[in-house]
């Protein structure tokens, strides 16, 4: 193979690789990116029912209810003004408690509640998911 041809082939292959990576990533992004919602974001708006999303806020005080099977719980996520009821089956993280920050991963239901398949809680006293922190901050400013 001539040097010139080889260089051209390699350049084309590299271009193909970049385009391939972008195409793959974009198509996967389209249906796999989980958008983040605070309770206020979905209040009175059409719910994103068809996709996997994250819901973040605080666990409302006094809202955690353990269910009869011993492994399911219900609780309420709040951003200070609006609330969303959440159902979850599984072991909750060590730092999941009332009055603490939480991010629930899962889907909204047509009735406006949320079914979580994963719960993330803050990992130590200083840690707060920045997304939740941002939203809490906004709510506070609105209240003032």
């Amino acid at each position: 193979m001539k040097a010139k041809h080889q260089r051209l082939t390699l350049a084309l292959l590299a271009l193909g690789a970049i385009l391939g990576a972008s195409a793959l990533a974009m198509s996967a992004l389209k249906d796999q990116a989980a958008f983040f919602y605070a309770p206020g974001d979905v209040h009175g708006k059409p719910l994103p029912l068809d996709r996997h999303v994250r819901l973040g806020g605080m666990v409302e005080k006094g809202s955690i209810r353990r269910q009869g099977d011993g492994v399911s719980i219900r609780f309420v996520v709040t951003d200070g003004t609006t609330t969303v009821p959440v159902a979850f089956r599984g072991v909750t993280p060590d730092l999941f408690k009332e009055g603490s920050g939480v991010v629930a991963e899962g889907r909204f239901q047509p009735d406006g509640s949320f079914v979580a398949d994963n719960i993330l809680a803050k990992h130590d006293e200083r840690y707060m998911p920045p997304q939740a922190a941002g939203n809490m901050h906004e709510t506070k400013t609105l209240e003032q």
């Binding site: 193979m1 001539k2 040097a3 080889q6 260089r7 082939t9 390699l10 292959l13 590299a14 193909g16 690789a17 970049i18 391939g20 990576a21 972008s22 793959l24 990533a25 198509s27 996967a28 992004l29 796999q32 990116a33 989980a34 958008f35 983040f36 996997h52 994250r54 353990r66 099977d69 011993g70 492994v71 089956r89 599984g90 072991v91 909750t92 060590d94 730092l95 991010v103 991963e105 990992h123 130590d124 006293e125 200083r126 840690y127 998911p129 920045p130 997304q131 941002g134």
Partner: protein
């Protein structure tokens, strides 16, 4: 005094790094003059002293932690006098400032290593390389001095420290960051070699041979670091998973992908003088990925367990350094690439062709991981909040990874320069048959639902067979040790992927709440909750479950998962209990009680999951063998030169 000495050592090291850049400038420009050997000698010594000073500063920081010097802010924030010694030592790098100091120490010591051991490279290129290495160090010394001083004192001293995050109080922590950093920052040497070779217009086989052992060394550490980190997350987090596509995990995966590509292209350049420009580009990209990883982890912009440094000035500072070094190297690449002469050519069906394919597929995976990791940050800047998790990466990266497994099986069976499709297909007969059989068996067992994992199992089996074929009909005693390295590493990939696929296709999971005396089943096991009891450790207390597991026909054995409570700082952690059997692991986590005598129990049976990390260890071992082979060969050649 210790803290002040540490700071002084850092400033001195900065001074030596500046001197190193100037000497390098002189040595590279006047390489043909009479005084050149003298300047080179001085340059080497300065590089070594700079490495020793950085190492000294790091040693002093560790001393402060061991002595629990509570007048130093970093020690107060991250240590406690009652902590076991190993976590006092590890606490020195279990935080932002200390880990950045470790980062820069590895950078300086690697530079010293180049100055000590590199004998064959043209002096001008070596000088430019050492200059580039020092230039990177200066930026990060400045970062330490102005934005992350680890030796900051407080007055009056605190009575005691605030303790270390209990999640980090694990033997894994003691070795995980240093190993990973040796890999991350070891790649800086490849970067500096590339910059040096571009500056001196010396891109060729000699430069590739000088760079290769460093790339191999860094890659071995990265492989060990990623493998150990994965196992650590697996047993410490208690979530039953071994890879979460967490941005911090991706931050270590990206340099590994780039280094793996570089490792293969550098061998084409060293042995066949091909892929010159591409190899230089990869060397720049690999260390850029390390720096981007550092930025992601250390700037605190991530939603992640690891992001404990939440400070915008630091993020901006690192971002500035990143732009300077990556942008500078890319600009140099653009300016000089025209002067890099065309290397040797090859046919598409050849060893080189397969290595190009390997590089392309690795680059595609790297691109996908890069986009998936950084897209949320870009989106956040545009005001959209989203997160990208495992489903994205599994959908976009795994198919490419499987194509790469197939390519890995073919590559070593091809001849250099040119080969024939027919010859390749003939050699592939045995691997294809084995892959087909395993695929059929796994498909029958797991069903169509897990088709991707089943396909992966088949491909891994084929790769396992193909990877040992290069040894067939060879005198094993005379086979170069580097060939053994390749065989072992490729076999390791097959082993690791078998583990991942087996876990994905055949694992069983059980979540239940049971009272003492009751039992549940998971996979082939029946598990009884025998007792719940309190236990006490050195700096924690815990609630421990006593579980008895029985498999039909086997002897029962005990598992003791715990919920631990730490006082400093007040935190709970879940300690999973893991029983390793020849055919997999039984993994148990204890959750909350319901107040009526029932306890949450989460159980997994994970068939052959241990193969994941065994494979990782084999990959690293393969790298080590290759490194030994290369270094011995280099030494022999150097003796022949002399």
């Amino acid at each position: 005094m210790i803290a002040e000495s540490g700071l002084a050592a850092l400033w001195l090291a900065t001074g030596f790094a500046l001197m190193q850049v100037m000497l390098a400038w002189g040595a590279a420009r006047g390489a043909d003059s009479n005084g050149a050997p003298m300047v080179m000698k001085a340059l080497r010594r300065v590089a070594i002293v700079q490495g020793l000073l950085a190492l000294g500063a790091f040693g002093l920081l560790v001393t402060l932690f061991v002595q629990s010097d509570m007048s130093v802010l970093l020690v107060i924030e991250n240590s406690h006098s009652m902590k076991p010694l190993i976590y006092k030592v590890a606490g020195a790098w279990g935080n932002h400032e200390g880990s950045m100091l470790l980062w820069v120490t590895v950078l300086a010591v690697s530079g010293a290593g180049v100055a000590l051991f590199e004998k064959r490279l043209a002096p001008a290129t070596l000088a430019a390389t050492l200059g580039a290495q020092a230039a990177i160090a200066i930026g990060f010394y400045a970062f330490l001095a102005f934005a992350s001083n680890p030796f900051l004192r407080v007055n009056p001293p605190a009575p005691d420290g605030q303790g270390l995050n209990p999640l980090l109080q694990d033997p894994g922590l003691a070795f995980h960051p240093p190993t990973l950093y040796l890999g991350y920052v070891g790649l800086s040497v490849a970067f500096s070699f590339a910059v040096g070779a571009l500056l001196m217009r010396d891109v060729g086989p000699a430069f590739a041979r000088a760079m290769r052992p460093w790339v191999l060394g860094a890659w071995i550490f990265l492989t060990i670091g990623i493998t150990a980190g994965s196992y650590w997350a697996y047993y410490e987090l208690g979530w039953g998973g071994w890879w979460f596509w967490d941005p911090v995990e991706n931050a270590s995966l990206m340099p590994w992908l780039a280094a793996t590509a570089l490792l293969h292209s550098v061998s084409v350049l060293a042995t066949r003088d091909g892929l010159r420009a591409w190899t230089v580009m990869l060397a720049v990209v690999a260390f850029s990925m390390s720096m981007i990883g550092t930025f992601l982890v250390r700037s605190g912009i991530l939603v992640s367990v690891h992001a404990f440094a939440v400070d915008p000035t630091r993020g901006t500072f690192i971002l500035g350094l990143l732009g300077l070094y990556i942008g500078g190297a890319l600009a140099l690449f653009g300016a000089r690439i025209g002067t890099v002469k065309q290397g040797a050519t090859f046919e598409l069906v050849s060893r080189e062709g397969a290595l190009v394919l390997n590089n392309l597929l690795l680059s595609v995976i790297l691109g996908v991981v890069f986009i998936g990791t950084l897209y949320p940050l870009v989106a956040a800047a545009a005001g959209v909040q989203l997160s990208i998790g495992a489903p994205f990466f599994e959908k976009a990266a795994v198919p490419v990874g499987l194509a790469l497994v197939a390519a890995t099986a073919c590559g070593p069976l091809l001849k250099w320069r040119r080969d024939q499709w027919k010859a390749l297909l003939g050699k592939l007969l045995a691997p294809v048959v084995v892959a087909g059989v395993i695929f059929a068996v796994a498909f029958a067992l797991a069903g169509a639902e897990h088709w991707m994992a089943v396909l992966a199992l088949g491909l891994a089996a084929g790769l396992a067979v193909a990877s040992v074929l290069p040894l067939v009909r060879r005198n094993l005693r005379r086979t170069p040790i580097a060939i053994w390295g390749m065989v072992v590493a490729h076999l390791g990939i097959a082993v690791s992927i078998s583990g991942m696929a087996a876990d994905s296709a055949f694992k069983s999971e059980r979540l239940a709440a049971i009272a003492v005396g009751q039992s549940v089943t998971v996979g082939p096991y029946r598990i009884e909750l025998v007792e719940m009891r309190p236990v006490v450790g050195p700096n924690w207390s815990a609630l421990e479950a006593h579980l008895k597991a029985t498999r039909s026909g086997g002897a029962p054995f005990d598992l003791f998962p715990q919920q631990r409570f730490f006082a400093n700082p007040p935190t709970n952690t879940n300690e999973a209990a893991i029983a390793t059997k020849f055919d997999g692991q039984l993994y148990a986590v204890i959750g909350q009680g319901d107040g009526q005598g029932r306890w949450q129990l989460r159980l997994w049976w994970k068939p052959f999951v241990t193969l994941i990390w065994l494979g990782g260890a084999l990959i690293a071992l393969g790298g080590l063998l290759a490194l030994i082979g290369r270094v011995r060969r280099e030494r022999r050649d150097a003796e022949n030169d002399a």
